[in-house]
Symmetry: C2
């Protein structure tokens, strides 16, 4: 994990917001339904986009940033890409704070 890059990724109100939305998709995304029965793959770009008020390209870019630093996972299913919090990385970050 690249500490500096992770902190940069978190140093943006909108990206931080997305991460918290992803904590509880049912609560934050009106028309959310899980894409898979058995595996939780998260929320598709379009839902996040609609909720955000930002453009589609910006949201796509932000999700790519969060993915690049490992804060979310990405799963392509058909024409949708679903993003989901990577809790391992997030809690690892919590521990890492102690080593700073």
């Amino acid at each position: 994990m690249n500490q500096v890059e992770v902190f940069k990724a978190l140093g943006n109100k909108n990206r931080l917001q997305i991460l918290t939305w992803l904590k509880d998709p049912e609560q934050h995304f009106i028309d959310y339904t899980p894409a898979c029965k058995d595996v939780d793959v998260g929320v598709c770009v379009g839902h996040i986009h609609k909720k955000s008020g930002l453009t589609q390209s910006t949201i796509s870019e932000y999700l790519a940033v969060l993915h690049r630093v490992g804060l979310v996972s990405a799963t392509r299913i058909g024409q949708w890409t679903y993003y989901k919090r990577n809790e391992e990385t997030i809690s690892a970050l919590g521990n890492l704070i102690d080593t700073i």
Copy 2:
């Protein structure tokens, strides 16, 4: 604590480095001696400046950033300003990660 601002402050290699140096002044600063017998006030700007390889103004600015977001305390004694890690804020940040 302003989350976004704290993450921005940490999203810089040099500021992160300074924070880790301040963890153990004896180890990282050759000619370090505590400024006070009874209270630990940390390390003065000049020492950090010399070790960093960056200019005095940049270091002063970086320390101001870290101070503004609460990651370090600042103590002026005579003509020196001493900066010290604010462990409370840092561990609070660790907890805050869980709420992200």
